[in-house]
Symmetry: C2
Subunit: 463 residues, 2 copies
């Protein structure tokens, strides 16, 4: 509902996904007048239950952002805590890895539900107006004036919208960003990965019980491809199969009932009986591409700013696309207070503060795909992990895990987390080069060696 | 002129620059029906003499392509041979470096003149139609059907064009490429450099004689910025000043008569008196951005192919943007013959053959900016160059210069040239690490050391 009170600035937001909605709430409470435009229909008006829900995971960064708008409790009611990753090896062996301490978790929630909660709240804000099915057609990057087209009673309409500022929260395929490519000195890249993905389902048992341990994420690492399952609230799991789009074993080469069946039997024999018609679904579904986006700058003429996936769409393997986007919003909220609504200061500071951090989490997400798909219960990596875990158990203050830094911490920036993680990897490489490390890794001498290196090389970063 | 004879395929070319024109001639002579669409007016109808001409340099790769369409002799009449680079140090010291042997040259020509010759020839081809002032608005990447808008008697017209294939020769800001960004799995990047550039002029003396030695390119390397002068046919020089767009010494910071004057006096005292109103021109002109483009793939649905700057716009410092684009055309001509007009084979082979090579010359162009702007007559680099030159003089077959490979050779691919050049750099780094190399570099021992490395590491690449 709009009340035209004494608002400060008039702000247009492109995109009414979770990021656009959260930003609208933040800006409205900072007493700006906010109009949110979305090309698609209102998702709440549709039966979102028809399709299987896409699950996303919320880390502490997301909770911190949800807290400042007071929605954390409501969201948590619909979220499932995940305490660990469970790796499923080809021969059915399970290897469990906690995300953190006993009660620490990341949380799985359906994207639809989260969006619904945020949109409902945005709509209740005094100075937010939501406009669905209005397609951005033009943007003047010097005046922040935008144009939208829409259908009304079957006829095409067109309107122009004045504003002081525009935020582009219109996602990985951002139209604002596409138009910005023609502004001067706008560097941009979109890079597609060899892998694509489809979604598969693991239903509950007949009695409604889950077929896999329900408070965990499940991973089937198979080097060149990967299956991940995240639990839904009802005990079912939404699975994502990542596989090359082209090549010897790929979505393009596996096109018959027989070859797809062989593919599952050979690589996923332990899970094939749990999946709902995997062969039929595989053959029926169009694989979705994976890509990442890099943009420089995010702020144009200090009038238009990119936020969320529009600014930094990344690979989904770490589950931090939305977490980093919510953190973008959180930072905007803080900067508005710090700079007393002075956008000349807020927008450059926002870009400066976020760019290195989202670069870092984007790079971590790239590396993580390799790490988890190559996870092997028999090889050195596991020993190196064991040694690190052992050290971390004795000296947790010197050896935070990457999960801890990325997902369970609110204070360590992504950039800092990556820096620390890279240094930890270097230290572990040196440790693994020690002669007969397989035999001597439990000795105190090794612990002392790691401690010395950690004190010298990690502690300065952790301060 | 069109004669609707028994043509093989109907091909649309977007862009009537030198690349579009050359490609049209090649395709027409392979008996295809070619329509070339250009959004701008016919450049031949305008007084191209009004503005200062932009000069481009033609290497052997360009001559090879011009020969197959029989235009080399005509073009050479309007081109000026450049036999050497002349580096001008801050204190006025000159350092001359030949491109090759005595009579080997690269050639400078005005872009307008070259385009004019190619367009005149294209127009005379049996199966080429040129269409100016027709703006591409849409392209169907599965059918190769394109749409164009145009003005006729002040009214906006619109037409659809069917074809079997589309070539996008529409340059660094390619509209086809922009539209292609929405096709699946199209990776794309445009990266802007910190530097921008403006053009300045050195007129002839009153008697018409040139103010600098006329058969050379002239370079004023100043680390963070750079001035380059290329001769025109009339004895004048077109100069390009490359300078950061923002920062301490930049186009953005130098905004007053006084600061610009100081800038020239401090950095270009030896050339300021030769330039035509450099301070006024500097303050008047809008700096042009520099950027490079990377695209993957260049061929979409085997229906639409990018060529020239549309596929691989690169930095201009090596002067190989157009040379590599003409080589693209040359390769198309060869592949048409080799594969008997089978486009299913031609287009993938074209992409495969050109991608690594244009990547290589693009990377060489990036490096070259650093190399020439940091060229210093007093430092190690010059000694290392001296040692390499001395070796090359005695064993030219083992040590081709980069200029020779890139600009004076037709047989060494860009990718191979870069590989050899990188290995040469590694060898020279090892040589420069020899103790007291400044004292002993002329000794036979050093020659033998280089020879041994060249035989082992360069000869296999040169075969």
């Amino acid at each position: 509902m709009t009340e035209l009170s004494n608002f400060k600035d008039k702000i247009t937001i492109a995109g009414a996904g979770p990021v656009g909605a959260m930003l609208a709430i933040i800006l409205s409470r900072a007493n700006h007048l906010v109009d949110v435009y979305e090309s698609r229909p209102d998702p709440r008006a549709h039966n979102a239950q028809q399709g299987r829900s896409i699950n996303i995971t919320l880390s502490e960064r997301a909770w911190a952002a949800l807290e400042i708008i007071g929605l954390d409790k409501q969201v948590r009611q619909f979220a499932t805590p995940l305490y660990k990753r469970v790796f499923h090896s080809k021969n059915g062996h399970l290897s469990e890895h906690s995300y953190g301490k006993k009660n620490q978790a990341i949380w799985s929630i359906s994207r639809e539900k989260l969006t619904e909660i945020l949109l409902n709240q945005a709509e209740q804000e005094a100075q937010v107006n939501l406009h669905f099915e209005q397609r951005l057609t033009h943007i003047d990057f010097t005046t922040a004036c935008t144009s939208f087209s829409y259908l009304k009673a079957g006829r095409k309409g067109h309107k122009e919208v004045d504003a002081d500022y525009v935020f582009a929260a219109d996602g990985a395929f951002s139209k604002v960003r596409r138009l910005a490519q023609e502004t001067p000195r706008f560097s941009y890249s979109q890079r597609y990965m060899e892998q694509s993905y489809i979604e598969l389902t693991i239903a509950t048992n007949v009695d409604g019980s889950p077929k896999l341990s329900p408070n965990a994420s499940h991973i089937w690492p198979r080097k060149d491809f990967l299956l991940i399952a995240l639990p839904n609230n009802d005990g079912s799991f939404t699975c994502t199969l990542y596989l090359n789009y082209q090549g010897e074993t790929s979505f393009s080469s596996l096109t018959t009932q027989k070859t797809v069946q062989d593919f599952f039997h050979h690589n996923f024999s332990d899970v094939i009986s749990l999946l709902e018609n995997p062969v039929t679904e595989f053959l029926k579904k169009t694989p979705n591409p994976l890509f990442l986006v890099n943009v420089d700058p995010w702020v144009i003429n200090n009038k238009v700013a990119l936020i969320g996936d529009a600014a930094h769409a990344m690979l989904p393997f770490y589950g931090h696309g939305l977490n980093s986007s919510f953190e973008d919003c959180h930072v905007i909220a803080e900067l508005i207070q710090r700079h007393n609504d002075d956008w000349i200061k807020i927008l450059p500071a926002y870009y400066l503060q976020r760019k290195d951090n989202t670069n870092a989490i984007s790079k971590l997400s790239n590396d993580y795909f390799f790490d988890i798909s190559h996870f092997d219960t028999d090889n050195d990596e596991l020993l190196s992990q064991k040694i690190a875990d052992k050290f971390a158990l004795k000296s947790p203050e010197l050896w935070p895990s990457l999960d801890h830094m990325i997902s369970l911490s609110r204070d360590i920036s992504y950039a800092k987390a990556r820096e620390i993680s890279l240094e930890q990897k270097k230290i572990m490489t040196e440790i693994m080069n020690i002669k007969d490390i397989h035999l001597c890794w439990q000795e105190d001498d090794i612990y002392q060696k790691i401690k010395k290196m950690a004190l010298m090389r990690l502690l300065p970063l952790l301060k």
